[in-house]
């Protein structure tokens, strides 16, 4: 994000900014959406939204192996949807309350990137048009 441009090559700077912003957001939202796309993972989220549960307790609720549940927990944790806490050998999971508002999360990421595009386009148009800004 910290691409430094002297302003003498606005085209190049725009291109770098544009693609970098798109990739970042795409990657982050992709992880969250993929985590949410699985019905078992959504069930895990519902299970832990009321409070912390140990991994073993969560696994008991499912007709899959503990390994399978562990994998789901890791995916959810990595996507930022679950908080993980260790207590001795136990791992405890709870829903991350901030992750409960993906609309907000998505928009919180999207508006800055949209405004960046606005910036680049306006400045690009200014440069191309010289002293004749579009009306």
């Amino acid at each position: 994000m910290a691409t430094s441009g002297s302003g003498t090559h606005p085209h190049t700077v725009s291109a770098v900014h544009g693609s970098a912003a798109g990739d970042d957001i795409g990657a982050v939202t992709d992880v969250v959406l993929r985590a949410l796309a699985d019905p078992q993972r959504r069930r895990i989220l519902r299970l832990v939204r009321g409070g912390e549960l140990p991994a073993g307790e969560i696994a008991r609720q499912f007709a899959v192996t503990q390994q399978g549940v562990s994998h789901h927990l890791q995916v959810l944790h990595r996507a930022g949807l679950l908080r993980e806490r260790r207590e001795g050998t136990k791992r405890l999971y709870t829903l991350d309350p901030q992750a409960l508002d993906p609309v907000r999360e998505v928009l919180a990421d999207l508006w800055p990137s949209a405004l960046q595009r606005l910036k680049h386009i306006v400045e690009h148009d200014q440069t191309s048009a010289g002293d004749h800004p579009p009306s």
Partner: protein
């Protein structure tokens, strides 16, 4: 139920507000930075319609004050989370020397305690995310010109 804080975002643009403003109200200019189709009637009560890939964003202009301020409602018809017109966006253009500071405030977003909507997220959000984050409006290339 607590009222959620509005989302804010801002950017500095090396152009005066009068140059930036049309990009917020002219459909042909707007779709160069967000969405791929727009129908905008920039006057109070006028239509605000913006298609971003498979998501249709619909609302109404509430206030249009060139070249410094525009306010419109914003939502997705059929969405439980953000129905058409359910949220409000205010964009302020503040001159700062030769530049403009653009401040966007997104009000009335739904409160965060909505786990019942888990299923909806992956579908309705999917289109919004793909749509709004699609970097296909990358400004590096020359645009083919007017509409």
């Amino acid at each position: 139920m607590t009222i959620p804080e509005p989302l804010t975002a801002s950017v500095r643009i090396a152009a005066p507000p009068a140059t930036v403003f049309p990009y917020l109200v002219d459909p042909a200019l707007m779709i160069r930075w967000i969405g791929h189709w727009a129908d905008l009637d920039p006057e109070p009560g006028g239509v605000f319609a913006l298609d971003v890939e498979t998501a249709a964003v619909r609302g109404r202009f509430l206030s249009v004050e060139p070249p410094t301020r525009v306010v419109f409602t914003w939502g997705v018809p059929g969405s439980e989370v953000i129905p058409a017109g359910s949220t409000t966006i205010e964009i302020l253009l503040r001159p700062d020397g030769p530049d403009t500071i653009v401040e966007l405030v997104h009000h009335d977003l739904p409160p965060s305690e909505q786990p019942a909507h888990l299923e909806g997220w992956s579908t309705c959000l999917g289109c919004l995310v793909r749509a709004l984050s699609a970097p296909k409006t990358a400004p590096a290339k020359r645009s083919p010109g007017g509409p």
